[in-house]
Assembly symmetry: C2
Homo-oligomer: 225 residues x 2
């Protein structure tokens, strides 16, 4: 996950593939206003809400984007690595963005922060930067759609396999004590879905089922799901 072995970017120009299409004036503006800042592992870089931190360009390190519920639960939306750009920390520059995302540094992270109004100013003039921004947004929306499909109905088999391995590790035994109801609650799905998938795993010889117990028979095959 660390990027220490990769040569770090020397300027935000390296993170914007259409850089050479910008005028010298536009390039100067972006370079001249971007400030460099280091965030230590675990620091909150941007807190959802109306503040406009600016556009984040990852020089080294790793960011996690997440949303938080009213009662403090979180879910991770996506990660940003070296050369990635975070648009939603500058949500103020796109009127139609009506959601709040928080960002934290998962490793020590060096960022360039471009003021939202400067980026917006250039984006309103440069068709290349506007189209690049479009791609950035589509990229993040694709991440979110994927996550939603995962949560809703994607590959329950893998999620269940991971869950069983984790429980086995937590309980320190291959004989997990649990119920289908409990698993369904933990995975945010219906009991019927869990029961069906467990039966399928059983038919594949991955597990054995008995009252209140699930025994892992083939850890390796389960891990490969």
């Amino acid at each position: 996950m660390t990027t220490n072995n990769v040569k770090s970017l020397s300027s935000i120009a390296d993170a914007i593939p259409i850089w050479s299409s910008l005028t010298q004036d536009q390039q100067r503006k972006l370079l001249g206003t971007a400030r460099e800042q280091r965030f230590l592992k675990g620091t909150v870089v941007h807190e959802g809400g109306l503040e406009c931190t600016g556009l984040l360009v990852v020089r080294t390190g790793q960011l996690r984007a997440f949303i938080t519920s009213a009662d403090g639960r979180e879910i991770s939306l996506y990660r940003l690595l070296e050369r990635d750009i975070c648009l939603f920390s500058a949500a103020c520059m796109i009127r139609s963005i009506r959601f709040n995302i928080s960002i934290e540094a998962e490793n020590d992270t060096d960022l360039w922060i471009v003021p939202a109004e400067i980026y917006q100013e250039v984006m309103k003039k440069s068709v290349q930067l506007a189209n690049f921004t479009n791609e950035l947004m589509a990229e993040r929306m694709s991440d979110v759609m994927w996550l939603m499909e995962q949560i809703l109905w994607e590959s329950m088999d893998r999620r269940l396999a991971e869950y069983l391995l984790e429980q086995s590790s937590l309980q320190g035994t291959t004989q997990i004590t649990t119920t289908h109801e409990q698993i369904a609650r933990d995975l945010g799905t219906a009991r019927e879905v869990v029961t069906r998938m467990l039966k399928y795993f059983k038919s594949e010889g991955l597990i054995a089922l008995s009252r209140g117990k699930i025994e892992i028979l083939d850890e390796r095959a389960l891990d490969a799901r």
Copy 2:
């Protein structure tokens, strides 16, 4: 939900606020290649997958955008009404879009369909159209984020209350005919969650429960949840 009482758009120009910033040539291209098509209520306009139906501009009527799971379940993402533009039926024009959305007509709907390659061609030249497209995407992404937050952790009690009131209004009676399974499916949650919340509502004197029926006893209190 119908828009029959509103004067319908006379051309796609009316749906694109930055129209006047386009060159005559760009305008001609968009107008000349857009074809008008009527879809009857219930028709599938665009099926997720790699096909590129084109950009849809709603002249009259109503579209529903949804995603489908491998086993055939659906969830509605957002609705498009008169003057709205559907970008994701032309997903091929933005490389980073890696998800599939299906679209159906919820009412009889008149559309203009703009070929994706024509829209893309203009968008690559017009900074205004590129920025407008950015706003369109941010709008839809905001819809999806809202839905995800609803699904993940928004107060299930309020959603269920709203659902019951809506069903009562649709069925024209305070004695709703339904099952816990049906409600769970419609709300995208587990049956247990629904059963538990219904029992809570019952204990609060809001509803009465009997086999296959839910009777609303206190509409006002339900509405206030």
